[in-house]
């Protein structure tokens, strides 16, 4: 009996786990606008052709908040931030940093990181992402 590697599933489909975890945007082939959702057409130029592009895994925090109250199943406080990854703004939490205004600062350099969100009844592990101090 051979062992199968435990399978994994990303939190969102724009998080690609292999070979190394990275985010993939849908880029408008006409105007270059980048999106993280299934598209009908481009909000910038109205064309409807997109191609996947890898988003750089490092960036700079351009805005953040430290949220005290979280929905059920989410730990609080947590840090929500906007990370500019080489010109592509990304929405994420900051991880591996104390959620205090002393530790989290505007302009800080961060890098993509992933973590386990638990395993379902079929043994599939859910993988989330965030950014940690680089």
């Amino acid at each position: 009996m051979t062992q199968t590697a435990p399978s994994r599933i990303p939190l969102v489909d724009y998080l690609v786990l292999d070979p190394e975890p990275h985010l993939v945007a849908q880029e408008c082939t006409n105007c270059g606008a980048r999106y993280f959702d299934h598209r009908d057409a481009c909000a910038g130029c109205f064309e409807d052709e997109f191609s996947p592009v890898d988003v750089p895994p490092t960036g700079e925090v351009t805005a953040f908040t430290i949220v005290s109250y979280a929905p059920p199943g989410v730990d609080a406080p947590f840090v929500g931030a906007i990370v500019d990854c080489g010109g592509t703004p990304v929405r994420a939490n900051l991880r591996d940093v104390e959620p205090t205004p002393e530790q989290v600062t505007l302009g800080m350099k961060v890098a993509l990181t992933t973590y386990s969100l638990g395993t379902d009844s079929a043994g599939t592990e859910a993988i989330g992402f965030g950014f940690a101090p680089a």
């Binding site: 969102v12 953040f64 005290s68 979280a70 929500g80 379902d120 992402f129």
Partner: protein, 400 residues
């Protein structure tokens, strides 16, 4: 009076706060009957009704008619998040400008007491195995896992983004903006809260989403506001007293956010506000220096700061300096939110876009009592709903 102008003939806001003694329709009826009385007209005179209520299911207009007068007129139930009231007013104004009616009524109402944080939902029902759903193929709720969906956190980032771009922001700065508005509210008997709060009190209160503590967040409450608008031609047929108290709508503008990099990642509340303000100033033929007071959408202390800039009350990037100069205090050069703002007056969502216009009208008419801004002739009311929609109205005292 330039031909084609539209005027506010009557306007009312109810007491904001906890109103357990009445229902949504009752609050709307109170504001409506108040506005009609203030205008000196009856439902029989009104040719169109535009109504907004976010929590109620999109039928407020007809429910209200059943309580205050069914006259068969067209009803537009409208929604635009926190800009719903302004959208209702715009719709009534548009019907007049289209020549369809000579008098319109706009109403906004919300019952929110005890609603808690808006934008926070529970997780979706747990499935036995992960199932990607929606346009991002999410296998579980993203709120709190990929940034936050809640409003205090969203607007916190909007304020911090401004700080990253232009510098000068701090927790203390935002708390002082809130201190200003809570101070203003002590003069407003219709505000939900009338308590002055020191910067220290504000900073040491419960943290909701840094840098917004509880008093720096808009207060969920019950309330309604309503306005009667008339055409220029109709106004000429009315009494001296009605004409003297009428307020000219010098500009009524509604915008949404144009596409820009990042606008679908963090809502961009800046460009659509700048666009609305620019259009409004051009239409009204006034500049920010001409304004005697401004009611802007301080849904959070962090939001007020960016809108000083967006409404061009200061040069680009200079919102911090503008605040530090004392200008937006009620005794400053350009008083902002002398009503107390959403942080203390309260924010019954769909009512807000008319209530802020009521505040301006109140001063332009010289009826604002203890908090009157002396000699006020021109004011601006701004409201923004995430999603997004921005309403800007510029209002002017009648010449005669």
């Amino acid at each position: 009076m330039a031909s084609g102008d539209v005027w506010i003939l009557g306007i009312t806001m109810t007491k904001f706060g906890k109103r357990p003694e009445t229902d949504t329709v009752g609050l709307a009826a109170e504001a409506t009957r108040g506005a009609l009385k203030d205008a000196g007209v009856s439902m029989r005179d009104v040719g169109v009704l535009a109504a907004g209520n976010l929590m109620g299911g999109g039928a407020l207009g007809q429910q209200l008619q059943k309580q205050v007068g069914q006259t068969g007129i067209p009803v537009y139930n409208v929604a635009n998040a926190c800009a719903t009231g302004a959208t209702a007013l715009r719709t009534a104004i548009m019907a007049i400008k289209a020549g369809e009616v000579d008098m319109g009524l706009a109403v906004g109402v919300e019952k929110l007491s005890g609603a808690g944080l808006l934008g926070v939902r529970g997780p979706r029902a747990q499935s036995d195995t992960w199932q990607p759903e929606g346009r991002q193929g999410a296998i579980m709720g993203l709120d709190g896992r990929v940034n936050t969906d809640n409003m205090p956190g969203t607007f916190a980032q909007i304020g911090m983004e401004y700080g990253h771009k232009y510098g000068g922001v701090s927790f203390e700065l935002f708390a002082r903006i809130s201190e200003k508005n809570h101070g203003h509210s002590t003069l407003n008997p219709l505000a939900a809260y009338n308590k002055a709060m020191s910067k220290e009190q504000i900073m040491s209160d419960v943290m909701i989403a840094y840098p917004n503590t509880r008093p720096m967040c808009s207060a969920n409450c019950d309330g309604a506001a309503a306005a009667v608008v008339v055409s220029d031609e109709k106004l000429k047929t009315l009494s001296d007293d009605q004409r003297k108290r009428a307020i000219r709508v010098a500009a009524s503008v509604l915008t949404t956010d144009p596409y820009e990099v990042g606008c679908q990642v963090l809502p961009n509340v800046n460009t659509l506000t700048k666009n609305a303000a620019k259009q409004a100033y051009e239409t009204a033929g006034v500049s920010p220096e001409d304004l005697d007071l401004v009611e802007l959408h301080d849904c959070f202390a962090t939001a007020e700061l960016v809108h000083y800039d967006n409404l061009m009350l200061c040069d680009e990037g200079n919102a911090v300096d503008f605040f530090e100069s004392g200008a937006p205090h009620r005794d400053g050069r350009l008083p902002v939110n002398v009503s107390g703002g959403l942080q203390s007056k309260g924010h019954p969502i769909a009512a807000t876009g008319i209530a802020n216009i009521w505040e301006i009208c109140h001063h332009l008419r010289g009826e604002a009592g203890d908090r009157q801004i002396q000699g006020a002739k021109v004011g601006l009311a701004h409201v923004i709903g995430l999603g997004s929609a921005c309403g800007v109205h510029i209002l002017e005292k009648a010449a005669a």
